[in-house]
Amino acid sequence: MNAGSTARTFLAPVALGVLAIALWQALVVAFHVEPFLVPSPFGIAGAFTDGASNILTASMATGLNALIGLAIGAVSGVFVAIMANALGFLDRMLVPLVAALAVIPIVALAPIFYAMFGAAAETGRQLVAAVAVFVPMYLNTLHGLRQAEPVHRDLMRSYAATKEQTNRILLIPGAVPYVLTGLKIGSSLAVISALIAEYFGGPAKGLGRAITSSAAASNYTVAWAYVLGAVLLGAVFYGVTAALESFAHRRRSGR
C-alpha cells in the first residue's frame, strides 16, 4: 500500500466523521435541540471525559462478561463442530438446534438464565454471550473443517492416517482461518449480548445498566457517554479479533 492509497483509506472516513460531527454540533446549537432528544457531540465528549473512570469501570465489567462468554462460546463451538464433523449423526442431530439458536434473539434468554443462576451472579450474562458466540463459531468451524482439498484427503488416506491424525494434521489446521472469522463475528455478538443482557435487571456494574439508569435519571448526555464507551468496547473486541484473522490469512496466502 503506497502513501497515497493509505491516505485515501484512512483520511476519507476520518474526514467524513469530522464533517458529520461538525454538522451534528451545528444543528444542535442552531435549533436549540434539547439534550433528551439529541445531546451535542461536545456535550457527550464532556460527559465522557468527566465520567471516564466510571465508564472505564463499567466497560471492564461488561467487557469481562463478553470475554468470558466469547471464550466459552468459542471453545464449545469449535469442539462441537469437530465432533459433528467426525460423527455424521451428531451433525444431523444438531442442525435444527443450531438453526433455532441462530434465529432466536439470544438475549431473550437472559431472564431465564437470571431465574436459573440469580440475577446478581454474572453467570447468566456470560452464558447469554456464550450462546450468541457459539452459533457463528460452530458454523464457521464446521465449514472450515470441510474445506480440505481432495488431494490432501487422498494423501492422508494413502498414508493410512487415523481419523484422529487426519483431524489433527489436516482438518483442524486447515480450519483455523475460518475459526478466526467466526471469532471476529462472535466478538461483536459477545459485547452486544453481554451489554443488552444487563437491560433485563440485576445489580450489574456494566455499561448496559449504566445506560438504562442514566436515561431513567434523565442524564441523557451521560447515557450517551456510556453508549460511546460501548462503541469503543465493541471496537476493541472487533479490532483485536479482526487483526488475528488477517494475520492468519496472511500466513496462509499463496495456498
Partner: protein, 268 residues
Amino acid sequence: MSEARIAVHVDKVDKIFTSRKAGEVHALSDVSLDVAAGEFVSLIGPSGCGKSTLMRLVADLDSITSGEITVFGKTPEQARKDQDYGIAFQQAGLLPWRSVRANIELPLEIHGWEARDKKERSDELLELIGLADFADHRPDQLSGGMKQRVAIARSLAERPRLLLMDEPFGALDEITREHMQNELVALCQETGAAVIFVTHSIPEAVFLSDRVVVMSPRPGRITEIIDVKLGERGEDLREAAAFYDGVTAVRTALHGETPAGARGVENR
C-alpha cells in the same frame, strides 16, 4: 515372472462409477497388466481413458468393481496400510502451514518415526532434491517445480518399492519438466523402485518408461502395450533416433495410424 518379481498384478479389472447425474460410467473395462519390480510403466491416453482411475485403484483410493488387483501379492488395501507405495499427484498437495521439511516428514510423522530418524531422513531427501537451503521455507515461497520436487521427496520418504505418480509434472513448464524427468530417472535408478506413471505426454512417457501402456476411453481399456527399449537414460537420448521411433510407435497406437508427414516431438 515369478510372484516375488511382480510389483503390481492387475487382472481383468472393471471399474464402474455410479452417480445420480451421469448414471453409470464404465471407467475401466477388462484391464490386465503386470508391473515387474523395478520396472517403469507409463499409462498414457486421452482424458477419460481411465489411466488415473487405474492408478487410484492400485493405491486403494478407489475400489474395483470386479476383477483382481494385488500389490506385492497383497490386496491394495493391505498394501496401503503397510505403506508399500509412495504417491504423488499433479498438484503438489503440500500443506501450506507446514515448512518444506515438515511436509517431507509428514508420512514419517504419521507413522510414528522418532524425531532423530525423521530429521536424518528429511536431511537426506532435501539433499537429494537440491532444496537443503529451503528446509524452513513455506510452500508459498517456492516455485511450481520446487513444490513438485518436495512432493516427490515426500513420496520417497519411506523408501517405497512402488511409486504411483499421477501426472506429477503436468502443471510444469517444459524446461522444468525435462529437468524433473532427468531427476526422476536418476532417482529410480538409485532406489530401484517400480513406478506407475500417469501422463498424457508422449515424449515424457517414452523417455521415462520401460513400457508404455496406451489406453483409450469409453470404456477405458488398454489398447496396446509398447516396449520401449532405450537402455541408459540421459540427455542425449532426447535427440536419439530410437527415442523418436518410440514416440512414433506410441503416437501410432494412440491415433490408430501414422500421422501424415510425421513431425518432430510435440511438446506435451
